[in-house]
Amino acid sequence: MKWGVVTFPGSLDDRDMLYALRDVMEQDAQPLWHKDRDLRNVDCVVLPGGFSYGDYLRCGAMARFSPIMESVVNFARRGGLVLGVCNGFQILCEAHLLPGALTRNRSLAFICERLTVRVENVNTPFTCAAQNGELLRLPIKHGEGLYVAPRDELRRMEDRGQVLVRYVNQHGEPSDDANPNGSMNSIAGVANDRFNVFGLMPHPEHAVEPMLGGDGGLRIFRSIVQSLA
């Protein structure tokens, strides 16, 4: 399979994503440029973390209008796999490829730390290599990761299994203490209702080597590879 990683002005984890995919996962991954429209026949588009366009308006609000996003939206509508991490998740929400929105952390501060998420639904291309209820250690680093959605929408999402990962404590249970940013239902990441678009605040690309804080992120990349095999 082929991966494409989009660089927006202000993307920061694009190089780390390419490193994780190429050097650790040994995948065919190439950079995509925000001013281009050509997705170069990739099978999965990744929107990486960062502060696209400085995030001066609203996180992800400018990036959704960049030329490449038109192509990404069409690609997603045709069922192509799209993964958004952190700022990428925010962009996917702004582009209405995912429901809900991400707002300021309840502490109002940027938070960088490693924490635990629980895999909630393994019947998706992004989680199929994980066990149901599996706990993954992943880092977060964001100032605006508080996930919100209208109550009834949230209920429908939960019913359909669109919540793919949730922040949990050491016992594997969601709790207020273990919810780093105040997200509704301790949501760390959601898929769309067709399960071909997935956004999450934790960074799987920063959890691919035991030496650098563990390899919990490999589950997500391996799932995508497995789903397209």
Binding site: P9, D13, F51, Y56, P139
Partner: protein, 743 residues
Amino acid sequence: MSEHPAALPGEPRVDLEQALAHGLSEDEFRLIERGLGRTPTFTELGVFSVMWSEHCSYKSSRRHLAMLPNQGSLVVGGPGENAGALDVGDGWLAVFKIESHNHPSFVEPYPGAATGVGGILRDIFAMGARPVASLNSLKFGSFNHPRTRYLLGGVVGGIGGYGNCVGVPTVGGEVMFDDAYNDNILVNAFCLGLARKGELQSARARGVGNPVLYVGSATGRDGIHGASLLASAEFDQSSDQKRPTVQVGDPFTEKLLIEACLEAVKTGAVAALQDMGAAGLTSSSSEMAARGKLGIELNLDRVPLREPNLTPYEMLLSESQERMLIVAEKGREAELQAVFEKWDLHAVVIGQITDDGRWRVSWRGQAVADIPVAMLADEAPVYERPFAPPVRPSARTTAVKQRPAPAEALRRLLDSPNVGSRRWVYRQYDSIVQSNTVIEPGSDAAILRIKGTRRALALAVDSNPRACAIDPYLGAIAVTLEAARNVACSGARPIGITDCLNYGNPERPEIMWQFVRGIEGIRDAAAALDTPVVSGNVSFYNETQGRAIPPTPTLAMVGLSADLANCRGQFFRHPGDLILLLRTSNPALAASEYAAMFGGEGRLETIDLQKERALIDLLVTLAEARLISSAHDVSDGGLAAAMAECCFSPAGNLGAAVRVSAAGLDSAVNLFGEGPSTVIVSAPPEAARAIEHRAEGRGLECRRVGTVLNDPILKIDTEIEVDVAELRAIYEQALPRRIQAHG
């Protein structure tokens, strides 16, 4: 343009009074008149006032800085460039520097600290190196002072706001709170970059006729006179009025500028590159020309502006951020402009390199400045300021208060804002972007891998103003050694230093004495360790209404390990491991956190540099032989606090049972004393003999004092037996509980 620059309509008259208002002395003004053979124009006066300011010219410090050792087998590139570079092997160079942004951060904490980070990043990528890690050293007033929380929140927010947005991890640092900084905080920012060997970019102009490109953000009115009026003068009650001299940072543009500049350097079309830092366009253009012993011609009509009607004076003195100046290879400017256009940044030819050694500036067809380059960049007066020890010794001896029992003292020390966990701070920094951070903040030193090699770099930044206040010479030695130990405890060999020298007003002999003694201390320690000082920065005038900060030389040490697998953190790892103490001499309460809290005497012990060097060597060999599981340098809070910290493993609490009492050593001094040098090492029992053997061979004391426990209990002699979870809760809450105390 051969005519002399003339006054512009509406410009103030230039006379002595005007020169004094610009911060120049009468002698300096006369020197300028003599050098030019005429009275400078108002614009030229402004230019001289920044270029001859203490901040830009190092006029009080220059002759003393020459004492510092700056040569070594790993040093690459000559002095005078924007940062020092060391060969770290496998074709890589480490380029690093530390710089102060004290006054701007006190006046406007968020933008002040943010632009401090931005400025040091630009010094690094100006050398063609990709910035890969930042550190910072922060000094605030006490929590009893009404502005401390505001300043702490603003500075940490600014460092995070900028650093997190440019994709350079902030991997470590230090924070201290003390009354002495109530009215003058310190914000020192360090950055390290990596460049390929042979691809180091120079800031030396070359090639007569080469075009000069202005790249990055447009120029506005922010930061005018930041270098002269803000950074080179003391604070007084009017300091609030200096807020417009603080620049505003835009990290998004900085990120684009990093990528664009590194891409531009790769084309080979860049002859010279420099940040428009303090004194902006003026300093960058004149310094690049001076290094190349050439002239430069600038046309201000082409400078991209944020708002219309900036005067030449404002354009030349603006410290608007995120701007760089490039000397391009003639005929290749379009190639460079295409790179900057790709990143949506300005890239405008605003002048060219000339052969006449003059710095000539025109605007609207008129000459506005015409000054010999050397006069601006190299010929600022150098002062031999008088220095003398203070009449009254400044030892901060405090009356001995009621001393609590050891277990209670340990709890109170772990609750001190100077000992407790710094997590509240570093949690607000992205410490992992770029995927190199092997040991994250919270240990003695940060460890970064160099991708594609087995090599690793260790980074630590340290200072000890309490020791420096007692004895500025021994204190500076202690700081240098501590930074080296922190790096060595992590398994890396110290290879180079960058220093940020924060002092009061150098026009006062006792301050100048502190400064000179500080440099002598760094010189002697650096020489003993074979670690050159490859870059640095001096920050004077850190005082408010005549009250100076304690002398605060801050040192960042870079260490190198040939094999990442040899690197270690400070935390105990395996129950059953033996705990050993390595000591060069007995600790003392002088300058300790314990003395600050409970009183104590105020003399520093002498330091045996050869023994200290032996300890560093021992730590490096132990790591290379993979004999130890962890190593932790004893510092703030003394042995007992350090032992507790070793138990606070990120993987979960462990315990320790140790007997550390020593004949003839007071128990409070032993448990809570600081000063060179004690290191706590843990190791598998079967390695103990080999460790002792290596220590003995170097004439160092090595004692087996106990064992790492699976049970999270800390037992020290018969005096302390405490639950580690309880201690950790105190330690973790030390900062948050104070910060939240008043919202």
